[in-house]
Point group: C2
Amino acid sequence: MLKGKILVAQGGGPTAVINHSMAGVVIESRKIASVDRVYGAYHGVRGIINEDFFDLTRETTHNLEMVGDTPCSGLGSTRDKPDEKYCGEIFKVLRAHAIETFFYIGGNDSSDTLRILSEQAKAADYPLVCVHVPKTIDNDLMVNDHVPGFPSAARFVALAFAGANLDNRALPGVYVAIVMGRHAGFLTAASALGRKYEDDGPHLIYVPERVFSLDDFVKDVREVYNKYGRCIVAASEGIHDESGQPIITKLAKQVERDAHGNIQLSGSGALADLLTDYIKDHTNITRVRGDTFGYLQRSFLGCVSDVDQREAREVGEKAVQYAHFGDSAGNHTGSVTIHRVGTYAVEYQLSPLADIAGKTRVMPDEFLHENNHDVTPAFVDYLQPLLGSGMPATARLRLNRVAKILKAG
Amino acid sequence: MLKGKILVAQGGGPTAVINHSMAGVVIESRKIASVDRVYGAYHGVRGIINEDFFDLTRETTHNLEMVGDTPCSGLGSTRDKPDEKYCGEIFKVLRAHAIETFFYIGGNDSSDTLRILSEQAKAADYPLVCVHVPKTIDNDLMVNDHVPGFPSAARFVALAFAGANLDNRALPGVYVAIVMGRHAGFLTAASALGRKYEDDGPHLIYVPERVFSLDDFVKDVREVYNKYGRCIVAASEGIHDESGQPIITKLAKQVERDAHGNIQLSGSGALADLLTDYIKDHTNITRVRGDTFGYLQRSFLGCVSDVDQREAREVGEKAVQYAHFGDSAGNHTGSVTIHRVGTYAVEYQLSPLADIAGKTRVMPDEFLHENNHDVTPAFVDYLQPLLGSGMPATARLRLNRVAKILKAG
């Protein structure tokens, strides 16, 4: 049963719908009479350590709805990945404030934090319920059919490529755009949903699930360019060679590493520039342009899937239901997971934290074309219903050609 | 009077609404009984040279409306800037096909092409009516209050910064985004319309109308970062030092030049990377990220101002009216220009081609803050009505802080 003080926090990279999950947790838990207070931690687990709490029982429902419609973690976020010691510090604060339920909205790292915390609570015989509320634009959480945040980011990527394709059709050349995704290519693959006509780009889609070869890249681009007089490429920031070495480190002189020793992939246009330079150096194509979608793909205001919004809200509500009523097996702690039913609906389950924690899901083979640079119709069928309603369409003039006079014959 | 064969073409960079101007020209001119055929040139003036014409009298109104709603030149575009000789070739083709009216949708280069062409026609005593239909995302055409294409691109930039601001608030650091604009800063300045709260970014806006100093840049960023713990920068791709040298050439080892000898600014993430590296090297701020909005700002599907759409359509219709009925002074040839009335409406005029041709309008001083890194309220008032209806709003949680227990006192 949900009672006393409960806490909600948001971790990791922002998404377009992450605040709907927060609003779902807050609004639903405030309806439960045994709940005294709903706290929000400012900037995720770091906010807990610093005892930076907001009292969300003093926030209006109207404003929670408005914040729900606003992209990016309204409670702030953090890149901290707590270990046992860090979790011990969190646990101390939860105890001091008599917080007995913790909802953490985040990806597989956030799930891992809850796994450690719930074990520490058990060992200390402290009655802590931990519910992981899923979010990530990478769509890389195990067990889930898909994850809130991904559909809206996928919508952005599809619409960005649909526009870039039209731009490139008006002024032909080679266009390379880099999409977020270190290990999972779902978001890059979403670029395929921007296509309508047979010759529409992206013509080449490279994801981290497949080995990237610079030789094949040049060959692929040349082939498409010779066929259509232009070529659009979608590539994940995490593309790598057969040894697993990221392409960015093969081509770049300097690379930046984050606090965890990972190579910094986002927040720089380096990979797009390196790939366009490589094409310029290895072909005689002159107009070669590169873009990196960067932070826009997870934060752009006004590009959101209504399906994603609703599901983000539902995982927040389901988290409260599991914490309060438990699932059918009587579990209260766990990760809310999304499961697809028919075409198209979803069911939710409470899955063990350990099934999601620290694990990464990548694209299954059935979604990737055997040519190594495209997706399959199965992936299009998978993603289509997630993009939401009101997807703008494109149209072309029909080619009613006029006979030449001066150059006739 | 509009009669016989008429021609429409699109030149220069695509915009989100350029096809509404084309649809306006085609649909309105087809209503005139004395018009035999409406041709569209495929890829601008180059399409004329190649006699690549489509017969748009065989296109349905329904499809023209659908193409109107589709971003990027549906007739294709070109970067060719015709000189006297090139215009002579165009003139030959127009004559051969007995085309007596030419509507060219484009920026100041397209206007210049029409200026040369109409002089050549006059000299040859050929009855050619030339009407320039304005478009550009740069908003840099003389005489006009603003130019179709700019409002939708401005909407994209404002929404991109509004989102980037929320992202940066969730995960603080320095964020630099590069916006298109070689000489005119209007589009970069549009980033200011993404702000709502006092501490919202962009905190620093750098445009080509002002001298950019790397020393001041570091000082400005440090000041904002010390105040808010984060800093968002909007910079035009064309920022330059006091000698006029582009910053990209000061910092980059290699630069690419286009066919006209101009330094290639778009289609690369170099400037953002150079500016973020400069901040990393000259401050102790660790999280510094850069994005380049690239082609998305002029082509993204589904980000359009309805005001812009309507006006783009109207300039197409007005062009046909001027060509057919003439303006009040009896002129048929010229450039359709937009003039603001009250708050907010527009009037159209037919202005002499020479007043627009080859000239560049930049931001007036009244739009630029004297601190050299912001816009004035006058600019916000100028741009606000152009962004169109349905601009998404953002909301924040209210800061109802909870008293600390462990760290109390």
